[in-house]
């Protein structure tokens, strides 16, 4: 039965009335993998996650977690996974310790064992000195860490995080990254959504980019960069009309927006930057490594998503 896949989806669809939030996506997550779902706002990330833990019933398709069908075995599946929601849904009236203990009751865990586990988890997230504080007195980063600890109370084999670092300061973000790395080392499978490309590139073994409910790219971060953008990016602002003309003529992949031009350089076009900077730029040309953000913007466009 065990084919090494923790999550398997096929043609997963979710329709709300007139709108199709998730439009037939298929992907697999392997055991021990850190898998990312990227996409602009409203792309269907959160809807997908809600289906993954059996909260939203799917409209059509197949979804298995731990090799079990989510529609019939949701209870057994949830017992083995942890969810970190995007919103802060901690209990404001309870202390940090009580938050974890009350949550363990929903899993039917014996309270004695849960207390020991909660203590370890508070240490793991660096809040062991705040055991008796209440969530409203915590900073945003601390709350997010507490939500992570709460999702670990049942010793899950899979954790799902919906935008775990949105709105966090750099220190907190790095701490979350570090903890996720440790969890991965323990063999826990992790699925996260994010719209920070640096985060995705840094953490994810594999990822999918979804837009309008469809998968538009899938692979390892470095492969995606190579495939969709190339090796390096030459940026020029303002872009002269001669430069645009030159790039068009030579057939280089490029993008123009406003008075800005991005030229995607493939590995074989080694001397391109020198040529461009000598002939067409007056000190307003930069060469940089291509990133996942370039891939993302290229594939999902630059218009605002709200």
């Amino acid at each position: 039965m065990d084919n090494g896949f923790i999550i398997e989806t096929e043609n997963l669809r979710k329709v709300y009335g007139e709108t199709t939030a998730v439009d037939g996506i298929s992907f697999q997550v392997r055991r021990g993998e850190l898998f990312g779902i990227l996409g602009p706002n409203g792309a269907g990330k959160t809807t997908t996650i809600r289906m993954l833990y059996g909260f939203s019933p799917m409209t059509a398709g197949m979804l298995k977690v731990f090799g079990k069908d989510i529609t019939t075995d949701w209870r057994a599946i949830r017992a083995r996974m942890g969810i970190c929601h995007q919103d802060n849904n901690l209990d404001p009236d309870l202390t940090l310790m009580e938050n974890l203990l009350v949550f363990s009751r929903y899993f039917g865990l014996p309270q004695k064992a849960a207390a020991g586990r909660a203590e370890k988890l508070l240490k793991f997230i660096g809040l062991e000195t705040r055991t008796d504080s209440k969530p409203p007195s915590l900073s945003g980063g601390m709350m997010r860490r507490l939500i992570l600890a709460r999702a670990l109370i049942n010793e899950p084999e899979l954790i799902i995080l919906d935008e775990p670092t949105t709105g966090l300061d750099p220190q907190s973000r790095h701490l979350v990254w570090e903890r996720l790395g440790e969890l991965k080392k323990q063999g826990i499978t992790i699925l996260l959504t994010t719209h920070y490309m640096e985060e995705a590139a840094r953490l994810c073994d594999r990822l999918i980019i979804i837009d309008n409910g469809k998968i538009i790219a899938e692979g390892k971060p470095s492969e995606l960069v190579k495939k969709h953008v190339g090796h390096e990016v030459i940026e020029s602002s303002p872009a002269s009309s001669e430069l645009i003309e030159f790039v068009k003529q030579r057939g280089f992949e490029h993008e123009v927006f406003g008075d800005h031009i991005l030229i995607y350089r493939r590995e074989e076009d080694e001397p391109l930057f020198q040529e461009i900077s000598h002939k067409y730029c007056q000190g307003n040309c930069t060469l940089r490594t291509a990133t996942l953000e370039d891939v993302f913007l290229r594939l999902t466009g630059r218009q605002l998503r709200e």
Binding site: S56, L90, Y106
Partner: protein, 263 residues
Amino acid sequence: MKLLGNNITTRFWSIWVRNWIVYLRTWKINFLPPILEPILYIAAFGVGFRLLVPAVQFHGKDMSYVQFIAPALIAVSIMNSSFFETTYSSFVRMYYQKTFDAIMAAPVSVQEVITGEIVWGTARSVMTAAVMLVVLSFFGLVPWPEAFWLLPAAVLGGFAFSAIGMMFTGLIPNIELFNLPVFLFITPMFLFGGTFFPMDGMPSWAKIVAGTMPLTHIVNLCREICCGSVISRDAVVAVSYLAVFSAVFYPLALFTMRKRLIK
């Protein structure tokens, strides 16, 4: 343990326990209303009203006005405790604190969350009734041991109002709109549910209207118990009414809340 199909198991107790733990943090404040309310009413009606209404006839028996309204005060508290718990308090947990969303990341169904909330609202009614019972006993207004039956009566009435309150929570778009069921449903019952005057002498249409109200039946039940007649025609009618009421509104509460929460 499965109770009603795969979606309701005894796991709903964990939600009850969650609410109990939160309640204990503020129990001193929570216990004040059920202690103060009967004292205030008794002061107002016992001292202030005594000259206007020296005695009331109920079921052919003469009693003081305070004696007449004491069981109704318990009935009204049974109604209010559970109804306000599953409306305002549950709405805050559902909408502002997103507690239900958090719980449903665990192996708990939406039906279990709602059942836990309704049973918790019921418990609030029982606790309030118990505190009032003690207070009213000091004034000699409830007979023992018959008064013990007020607690199962609180279970029955509390569940009924918990369930219908939860149904409103499933339907209402925002918290301000709870004013509507309070104003159109709770307040009329409070005034006309046989609480402050005996229904015996009322015209028949008024009796029929009052008979449709759930509070009237809780009042009747409490009053019968306090008159020492635990098994009477009115009590049997009241118990049957409340049982049917719960059997209708509990599934409706599950339905509306599921519709609201699961998208």
